[in-house]
Amino acid sequence: MYIGVDLGSRTVKMAVWDGERLVEHRIEPSGFEPHRQAEKMIADYRAKVVVATGYGRHLAAEHFADAVITEIKAHARGISHEFPGCATIVDVGGQDSKVISLDAAGRVSNFQMNDKCAAGTGRFLEIMAASLAYTLEEFGRAALTADQEVQINSMCTVFAESEVISMKNRGIAREEIARAVHSSVADRLAGMLARIGHGDPVAFSGGVARNPCMVELLEKRLGARVLVPELPDITGALGAALHGTGM
């Protein structure tokens, strides 16, 4: 078995690859010590190689992992496996978002990460959902139902939150505000894509890719369909597992 673990800031993801297919995957909260969580998760499997990725990768290497790769490489590997020929990846995770360009062989040729702030990340959406009293699942679905669009101007989480509150107080419908929050993230991602000069097709990975409104808005901005893997959260873990097969 080739195991990939993605030790993220919010969750630990695991993918088990038997050489031909994905036989198991799990997602657990990171907890205080993500590497202990990961160690527990892989304990049930007979691993030939364990490859770690994500923020906790080096800690994992100190304790149990055989190798580490960055999330960038892991997502490239995972997406190229699911969608051979994919040219660009948008990955929105808990604490950062990235845009990755791939060459014809699926190798990373360029990448961008948003800098030092929560704007345009899963965390931003989470905070905004909470201030509108939605669960994360409801949030995306509700935003889809809005029939008018208002505009959020601030990209800073703190300021955006007060903008949201003042919109609520002005009596703007909850769905419309939800839609505006999604739009501001989509604009941010579209900006990153433009900066990198992206190629097609574009794939969307990371947990936020399960949000239907985000997918729709991104497709609108790009004027093209966006590929979303069946299990977008575990793209990085899968990529790490696949990396192990070549070791």
Binding site: Y55, I69, T70, E71, I72, K73, D96, R107, V108, S109, N110, F111, M113, D115, K116
Partner: protein
């Protein structure tokens, strides 16, 4: 071994300089620890680095005593912040020039009590050292000489002047003839000011000797740089950067001798096939804003990930030493013109247009046999941040793997930078 290293304390000397001694002593211990961790833990360091270790151990004492001794003889000690201030003139008057650029997060809060937060960390760090009275160099200088290169600096001089006499040299931002004429006039004013403080007139002989000293120093640094370009490289990028940083406060003739001795050793290493860190380490070049002591952030991360930095296209780097002054001029006027000619070759991003720098970055990339470029800009440095666009485009055109990093001195982005740097190395390594 790492634990034995100590930055030597000189509490009486510091008290005599009206410093905040208890606070400074804490900073001393922290710097010593950081140095031991960053530098002394390196494997396979050249023996010749011992001198530079001593220069760090004596940074707050031994070298300060030398400055004070010079002052006692009536020689001026002048603090500067930019490689456009002509050191040759200070040397010719028997004076000493020290670079006061700050590379430490420790003094930033002192600055932020007065200055806006959203300006360049180098300006804040340097200013904070003076405001907090926690830098013996700042306390020892007779006056400082600033310049009009960027807005953050030129407006800070007005505030700094209330704490230490601050003079300003106008550096034009274009290089047309009328700008160069102005520049030459500014250099002449600078000479007059330095002569006034030194209480003596600079003769042609004085200036010729100073030009020679500085040319020799720059040649030694050029030699070190070209040895770093050898593949595999015989010295770490961290050590290379350290020497470039020490160049701004050490006595130039002694420094030149020590750099040349180190270069002799590196030549032997190259013959013997010694590689630092390993033969197949990925070679990276850094371009961008200066990295002032003790800013080793990027070098630490890159070399911590197993790669090696082989060139700094920076003011604490090649911009300081790539050009020499023509020594053939004989009259004061032609000598000052030759000097200004050399200084105008420095391709700082505060100039427009600045095509020379784009060409220079690509040239240094080729010369250093690097495999990728990390373009580094301090946060809020508008000129380097915007010039990034042109460097990026040039790298795209030349198919050079390229990473842009905008950062300050705080530790909060280290995790993310580590990921970006490792991903960049993976990208180069395939």
């Amino acid at each position: 071994m790492a634990t034995e290293f100590e930055i030597k304390p000189y509490p009486e000397l510091w008290a005599g300089l009206d410093m905040d001694v208890p606070r400074f002593d804490k900073a001393r211990l922290m710097l010593g620890e950081a140095y031991a961790k960053t530098y002394l833990s390196q494997k396979n360091r050249p023996v010749g680095m011992a001198y530079f270790d001593t220069m760090i151990a004596e940074i707050h004492g031994g070298r300060i005593q030398e400055l004070l001794a010079a002052k006692a003889e009536g020689r001026p000690v002048i603090g500067t912040f930019c490689v456009y201030i002509p050191e040759e003139i200070v040397l010719a008057a028997g004076g000493i020039c020290v670079g006061l650029c700050g590379g430490s997060q420790g003094s930033v809060p002192d600055a932020e009590k007065i200055l806006p937060r959203n300006i360049c960390p180098m300006v804040k760090s340097a200013f904070g050292f003076k405001a907090g009275r926690i830098c013996p160099y700042f306390q020892a200088v007779d006056f400082v000489y600033g310049e009009t290169t960027c807005d953050a600096k030129k407006k800070t001089w007005e505030i700094l002047d209330t704490m230490v006499p601050t003079y300003v040299m106008e550096i034009p931002q274009l290089k047309r003839q009328r700008d160069l004429d102005l520049w030459l006039a500014e250099v002449k004013d600078f000479k007059t000011k330095v002569e006034e403080v030194a209480g003596r007139t600079i003769t042609e002989t004085d200036l010729a000797a100073a030009v020679k000293i500085m040319n020799n120093k720059r040649k030694a640094l050029q030699r070190l740089n070209s040895l770093r370009h050898h593949n595999p490289t015989p010295i770490s990028g961290k050590d290379g950067l350290l020497i470039e940083q020490i160049a701004f406060y050490d006595e130039p003739m002694r420094f030149t001798k020590k750099v040349n001795a180190l270069c002799d050793e590196l030549e032997e290493r190259i013959k013997a096939g010694v590689a630092v860190p390993t033969k197949n380490a990925i070679r990276v070049m850094v371009a961008g804003t200066p990295m002032a002591l003790p800013n080793w952030k990027i070098h630490n991360l890159v070399e911590g990930a197993g790669a090696v930095i082989v060139n700094e296209e920076s003011c604490i780097g090649t911009r300081y030493f790539k050009d020499l002054i023509d020594e053939s001029a004989a009259t004061m006027d032609t000598m000052l013109a030759a000097l200004t000619d050399r200084y105008k070759e420095i391709d700082c991003s505060c100039f427009t247009p600045n095509d020379e720098r784009i060409t220079q970055v690509i040239k240094e990339f080729r010369d250093s046999h690097a495999q990728g470029i990390i373009n580094y800009s301090l946060q809020f440095c508008h000129t380097y941040n915007i010039e990034e666009i042109r460097i990026r485009q040039a790298c795209e055109r030349e198919k050079i793997p390229y990473l842009f990093i905008e950062s300050d001195y705080s530790a909060e982005d280290v995790g993310q930078l580590q990921t970006r740097i490792e991903a960049f190395l993976e990208q180069i390594g395939g």
